[in-house]
């Protein structure tokens, strides 16, 4: 049996939740699907206060932003149907989805689809990187902040982007000793205010440094790091050994675009946006009509921009289906302005560059 639904949103992170809210405000019926039992995406493990402006809930802790967004969505029980614990396995031509809902398979025929599946973590190649005790930052955060389990006692963080810095701080809060944060680039990647918080705690940050190998029998027992020169080559004799029982890898994210690829949406490799990203119109529509993408699934940025993109996609997808928000024009204008402001500083430069590259191949606008 095939179920018919008008607008299906895949992923209930900040982007998908905001898309659902705007669609409902437009009077559009929505099926919102997430593979986790708990809605909120990345937010449910972010115990720190967020950046951005108050329009995107700055200074609120990520976990509390999730609660607000989920409450917003639950305000529309007649319009928004929620499937949690439901993984979208496939997307087929004519907008048919196959979903594993709990233990049962479902087939859904959609009129329009918004893909807000977020991102997956990048891996790092080094000797013995498969030893138990070597985690991605996402896993460390889930263990600590969702399940209350310490990932180890002594840890080295690889990567000094905001995720590496923030997770290091949260590890220290959990009572885990962070021996060092190492970074291959010559400068710290994330915001300096996060780096300063760590230095104050006595956590050293070492730039131009990478992990060479991990050692241990059944699990990681120590690691060897090495310094790098300007050409990113190892400098002999600079190896250092750290006794650890865990290593956390935080070297970036790539958009989860496999469902979009399966449908045949055009993707383009743009390193500034995190890897393979969908080619989108200004309305966040992919090269397949009625299929939209937003949030980290369309380019790796922040929850703040993921929310705003979700709002826009929710509005435009609903309009396509004939439901136009009463304040459509004003809202679209305001959201586009918010994105512009969020991306206007030096930290937005990478995104601006990436989007400009994508602009070159954009269709329909």
């Amino acid at each position: 049996m095939i179920l018919n639904r008008d607008l299906v949103i895949i992923g209930a992170g900040p982007s998908g939740l905001c898309a659902a809210k705007m669609a409902a405000e437009s009077g559009q019926k929505v099926l919102l699907i997430d593979r986790n039992p708990q809605l909120g995406g990345q937010l449910i493990k972010q115990t720190h206060m967020f950046f951005g402006s108050e329009k995107q809930y700055a200074k609120t802790r990520g976990i509390d932003i999730a609660k607000k967004l989920i409450d917003d969505v639950k305000n529309y029980p007649d319009l928004i149907e929620i499937w949690d614990n439901a993984t979208v396995l496939g997307l087929y031509p004519d907008k048919v989805l196959t979903v594993l809902l709990g233990e049962t398979y479902r087939k859904v025929q959609a009129q329009a689809i918004i893909v807000a599946t977020g991102a997956s973590e990048k891996v790092l190649a080094f000797e013995n990187n498969d030893l138990p005790g070597i985690y991605g930052a996402g896993a460390v955060q889930t263990l600590m902040n969702v399940y209350g389990v310490k990932p180890g006692e002594k840890i080295v963080m690889v990567g000094s982007g905001n995720i590496g810095l923030i997770v290091s701080y949260q590890l220290m809060q959990a009572g885990v000793k962070v021996l060092a944060v190492i970074e291959a680039a010559p400068v710290i990647g994330g915001y300096k205010v996060h780096a300063s918080k760590l230095q104050r705690l006595g956590v050293d940050i070492i730039t131009s440094c990478t992990i060479k190998k991990a050692l241990g029998q059944d699990k990681v027992e120590s690691i060897i790091t090495t310094r790098l020169n300007e050409k990113w080559e190892e400098i002999p004799g600079t190896e250092q050994e750290y006794d650890v029982d865990a290593v956390c890898i935080a070297v970036g994210l790539s958009p989860l675009t496999n469902l979009l690829a399966m449908l045949g949406c055009e993707l383009k490799y743009i390193s500034e946006l995190g890897g393979l990203v969908p080619v989108l119109t200004n309305d966040y529509e992919t090269t397949i009509e009625g299929v939209y993408a937003c949030g980290d699934a369309s380019s790796i940025e922040e929850a703040s921009s993921a929310m705003v993109e979700g709002y826009i996609a929710g509005l435009t997808a609903s309009k396509k289906l004939g439901k136009v928000h009463p304040d459509y024009d004003d809202l679209i204008l305001d959201f586009r302005k918010q994105l512009e402001v969020l991306r206007s500083g030096p930290f937005g430069e990478k995104i601006r560059k990436g989007l400009a590259k994508l602009e070159g191949v954009r269709v329909g606008c």
Binding site: K59, I188, K192, K197, Q199, I205, P346
Partner: protein
């Protein structure tokens, strides 16, 4: 140093302090050195003493005439980059944000710590507040020695040394 290590140089720190005479009243020291898309310090201040402006990437600027030293921005800043500083006759009083266990308690003596994480003296805990509005970030009021004006930034429990 800021870009490689994450702590500011002593010269950078001093640019964020007003003249010592102004510090006879408590004032916010906003140690935000880099353009990032963020503005809760400015929107949370009830006295409009911190300006960032339309472009939220701008670096916050404090109007020390308007600042009352209330400390609201201290726990509203997601970067934990703000303290309130007041120069007394024989000591310096700081209000700092703190997010670790164990909680400091009034009357205890903790270590005073600098921006590199080194212990530089002692800090007497005068007062600890944690209201629901503070959203789990404690505001700790401490007294430290006078020569630590540009050095002191946080506290550490002596249990950890």
């Amino acid at each position: 140093m800021l870009n490689q290590k994450g702590y500011p140089s002593p010269e950078q720190v001093k640019t964020k302090f007003p003249d010592v005479k102004i510090l006879v009243k408590p004032k916010a020291i906003v140690e935000c050195y880099e353009k990032i898309p963020c503005n809760p310090c400015s929107t949370s201040c009830p006295f409009k003493a911190i300006t960032i402006g339309e472009d939220i990437n701008n670096i916050p600027i404090v109007d020390f005439d308007k600042c009352t030293g209330c400390g609201i921005c201290v726990y509203s800043c997601p970067g934990l980059a703000i303290t309130v500083c007041e120069v007394l006759d024989d000591k310096i009083r700081f209000k700092i944000p703190y997010e670790f266990l164990p909680f400091p308690k009034q009357g205890e003596i903790w270590s005073a710590v600098n921006r590199k994480g080194e212990v530089i003296g002692e800090a007497y805990i005068e007062k600890v507040t944690l209201t629901p509005r503070q959203d789990k970030t404690q505001l700790v009021q401490v007294l430290v020695d006078k020569d630590l004006l540009y050095e002191f930034v946080t506290i550490r429990s002596k249990v950890y040394e």
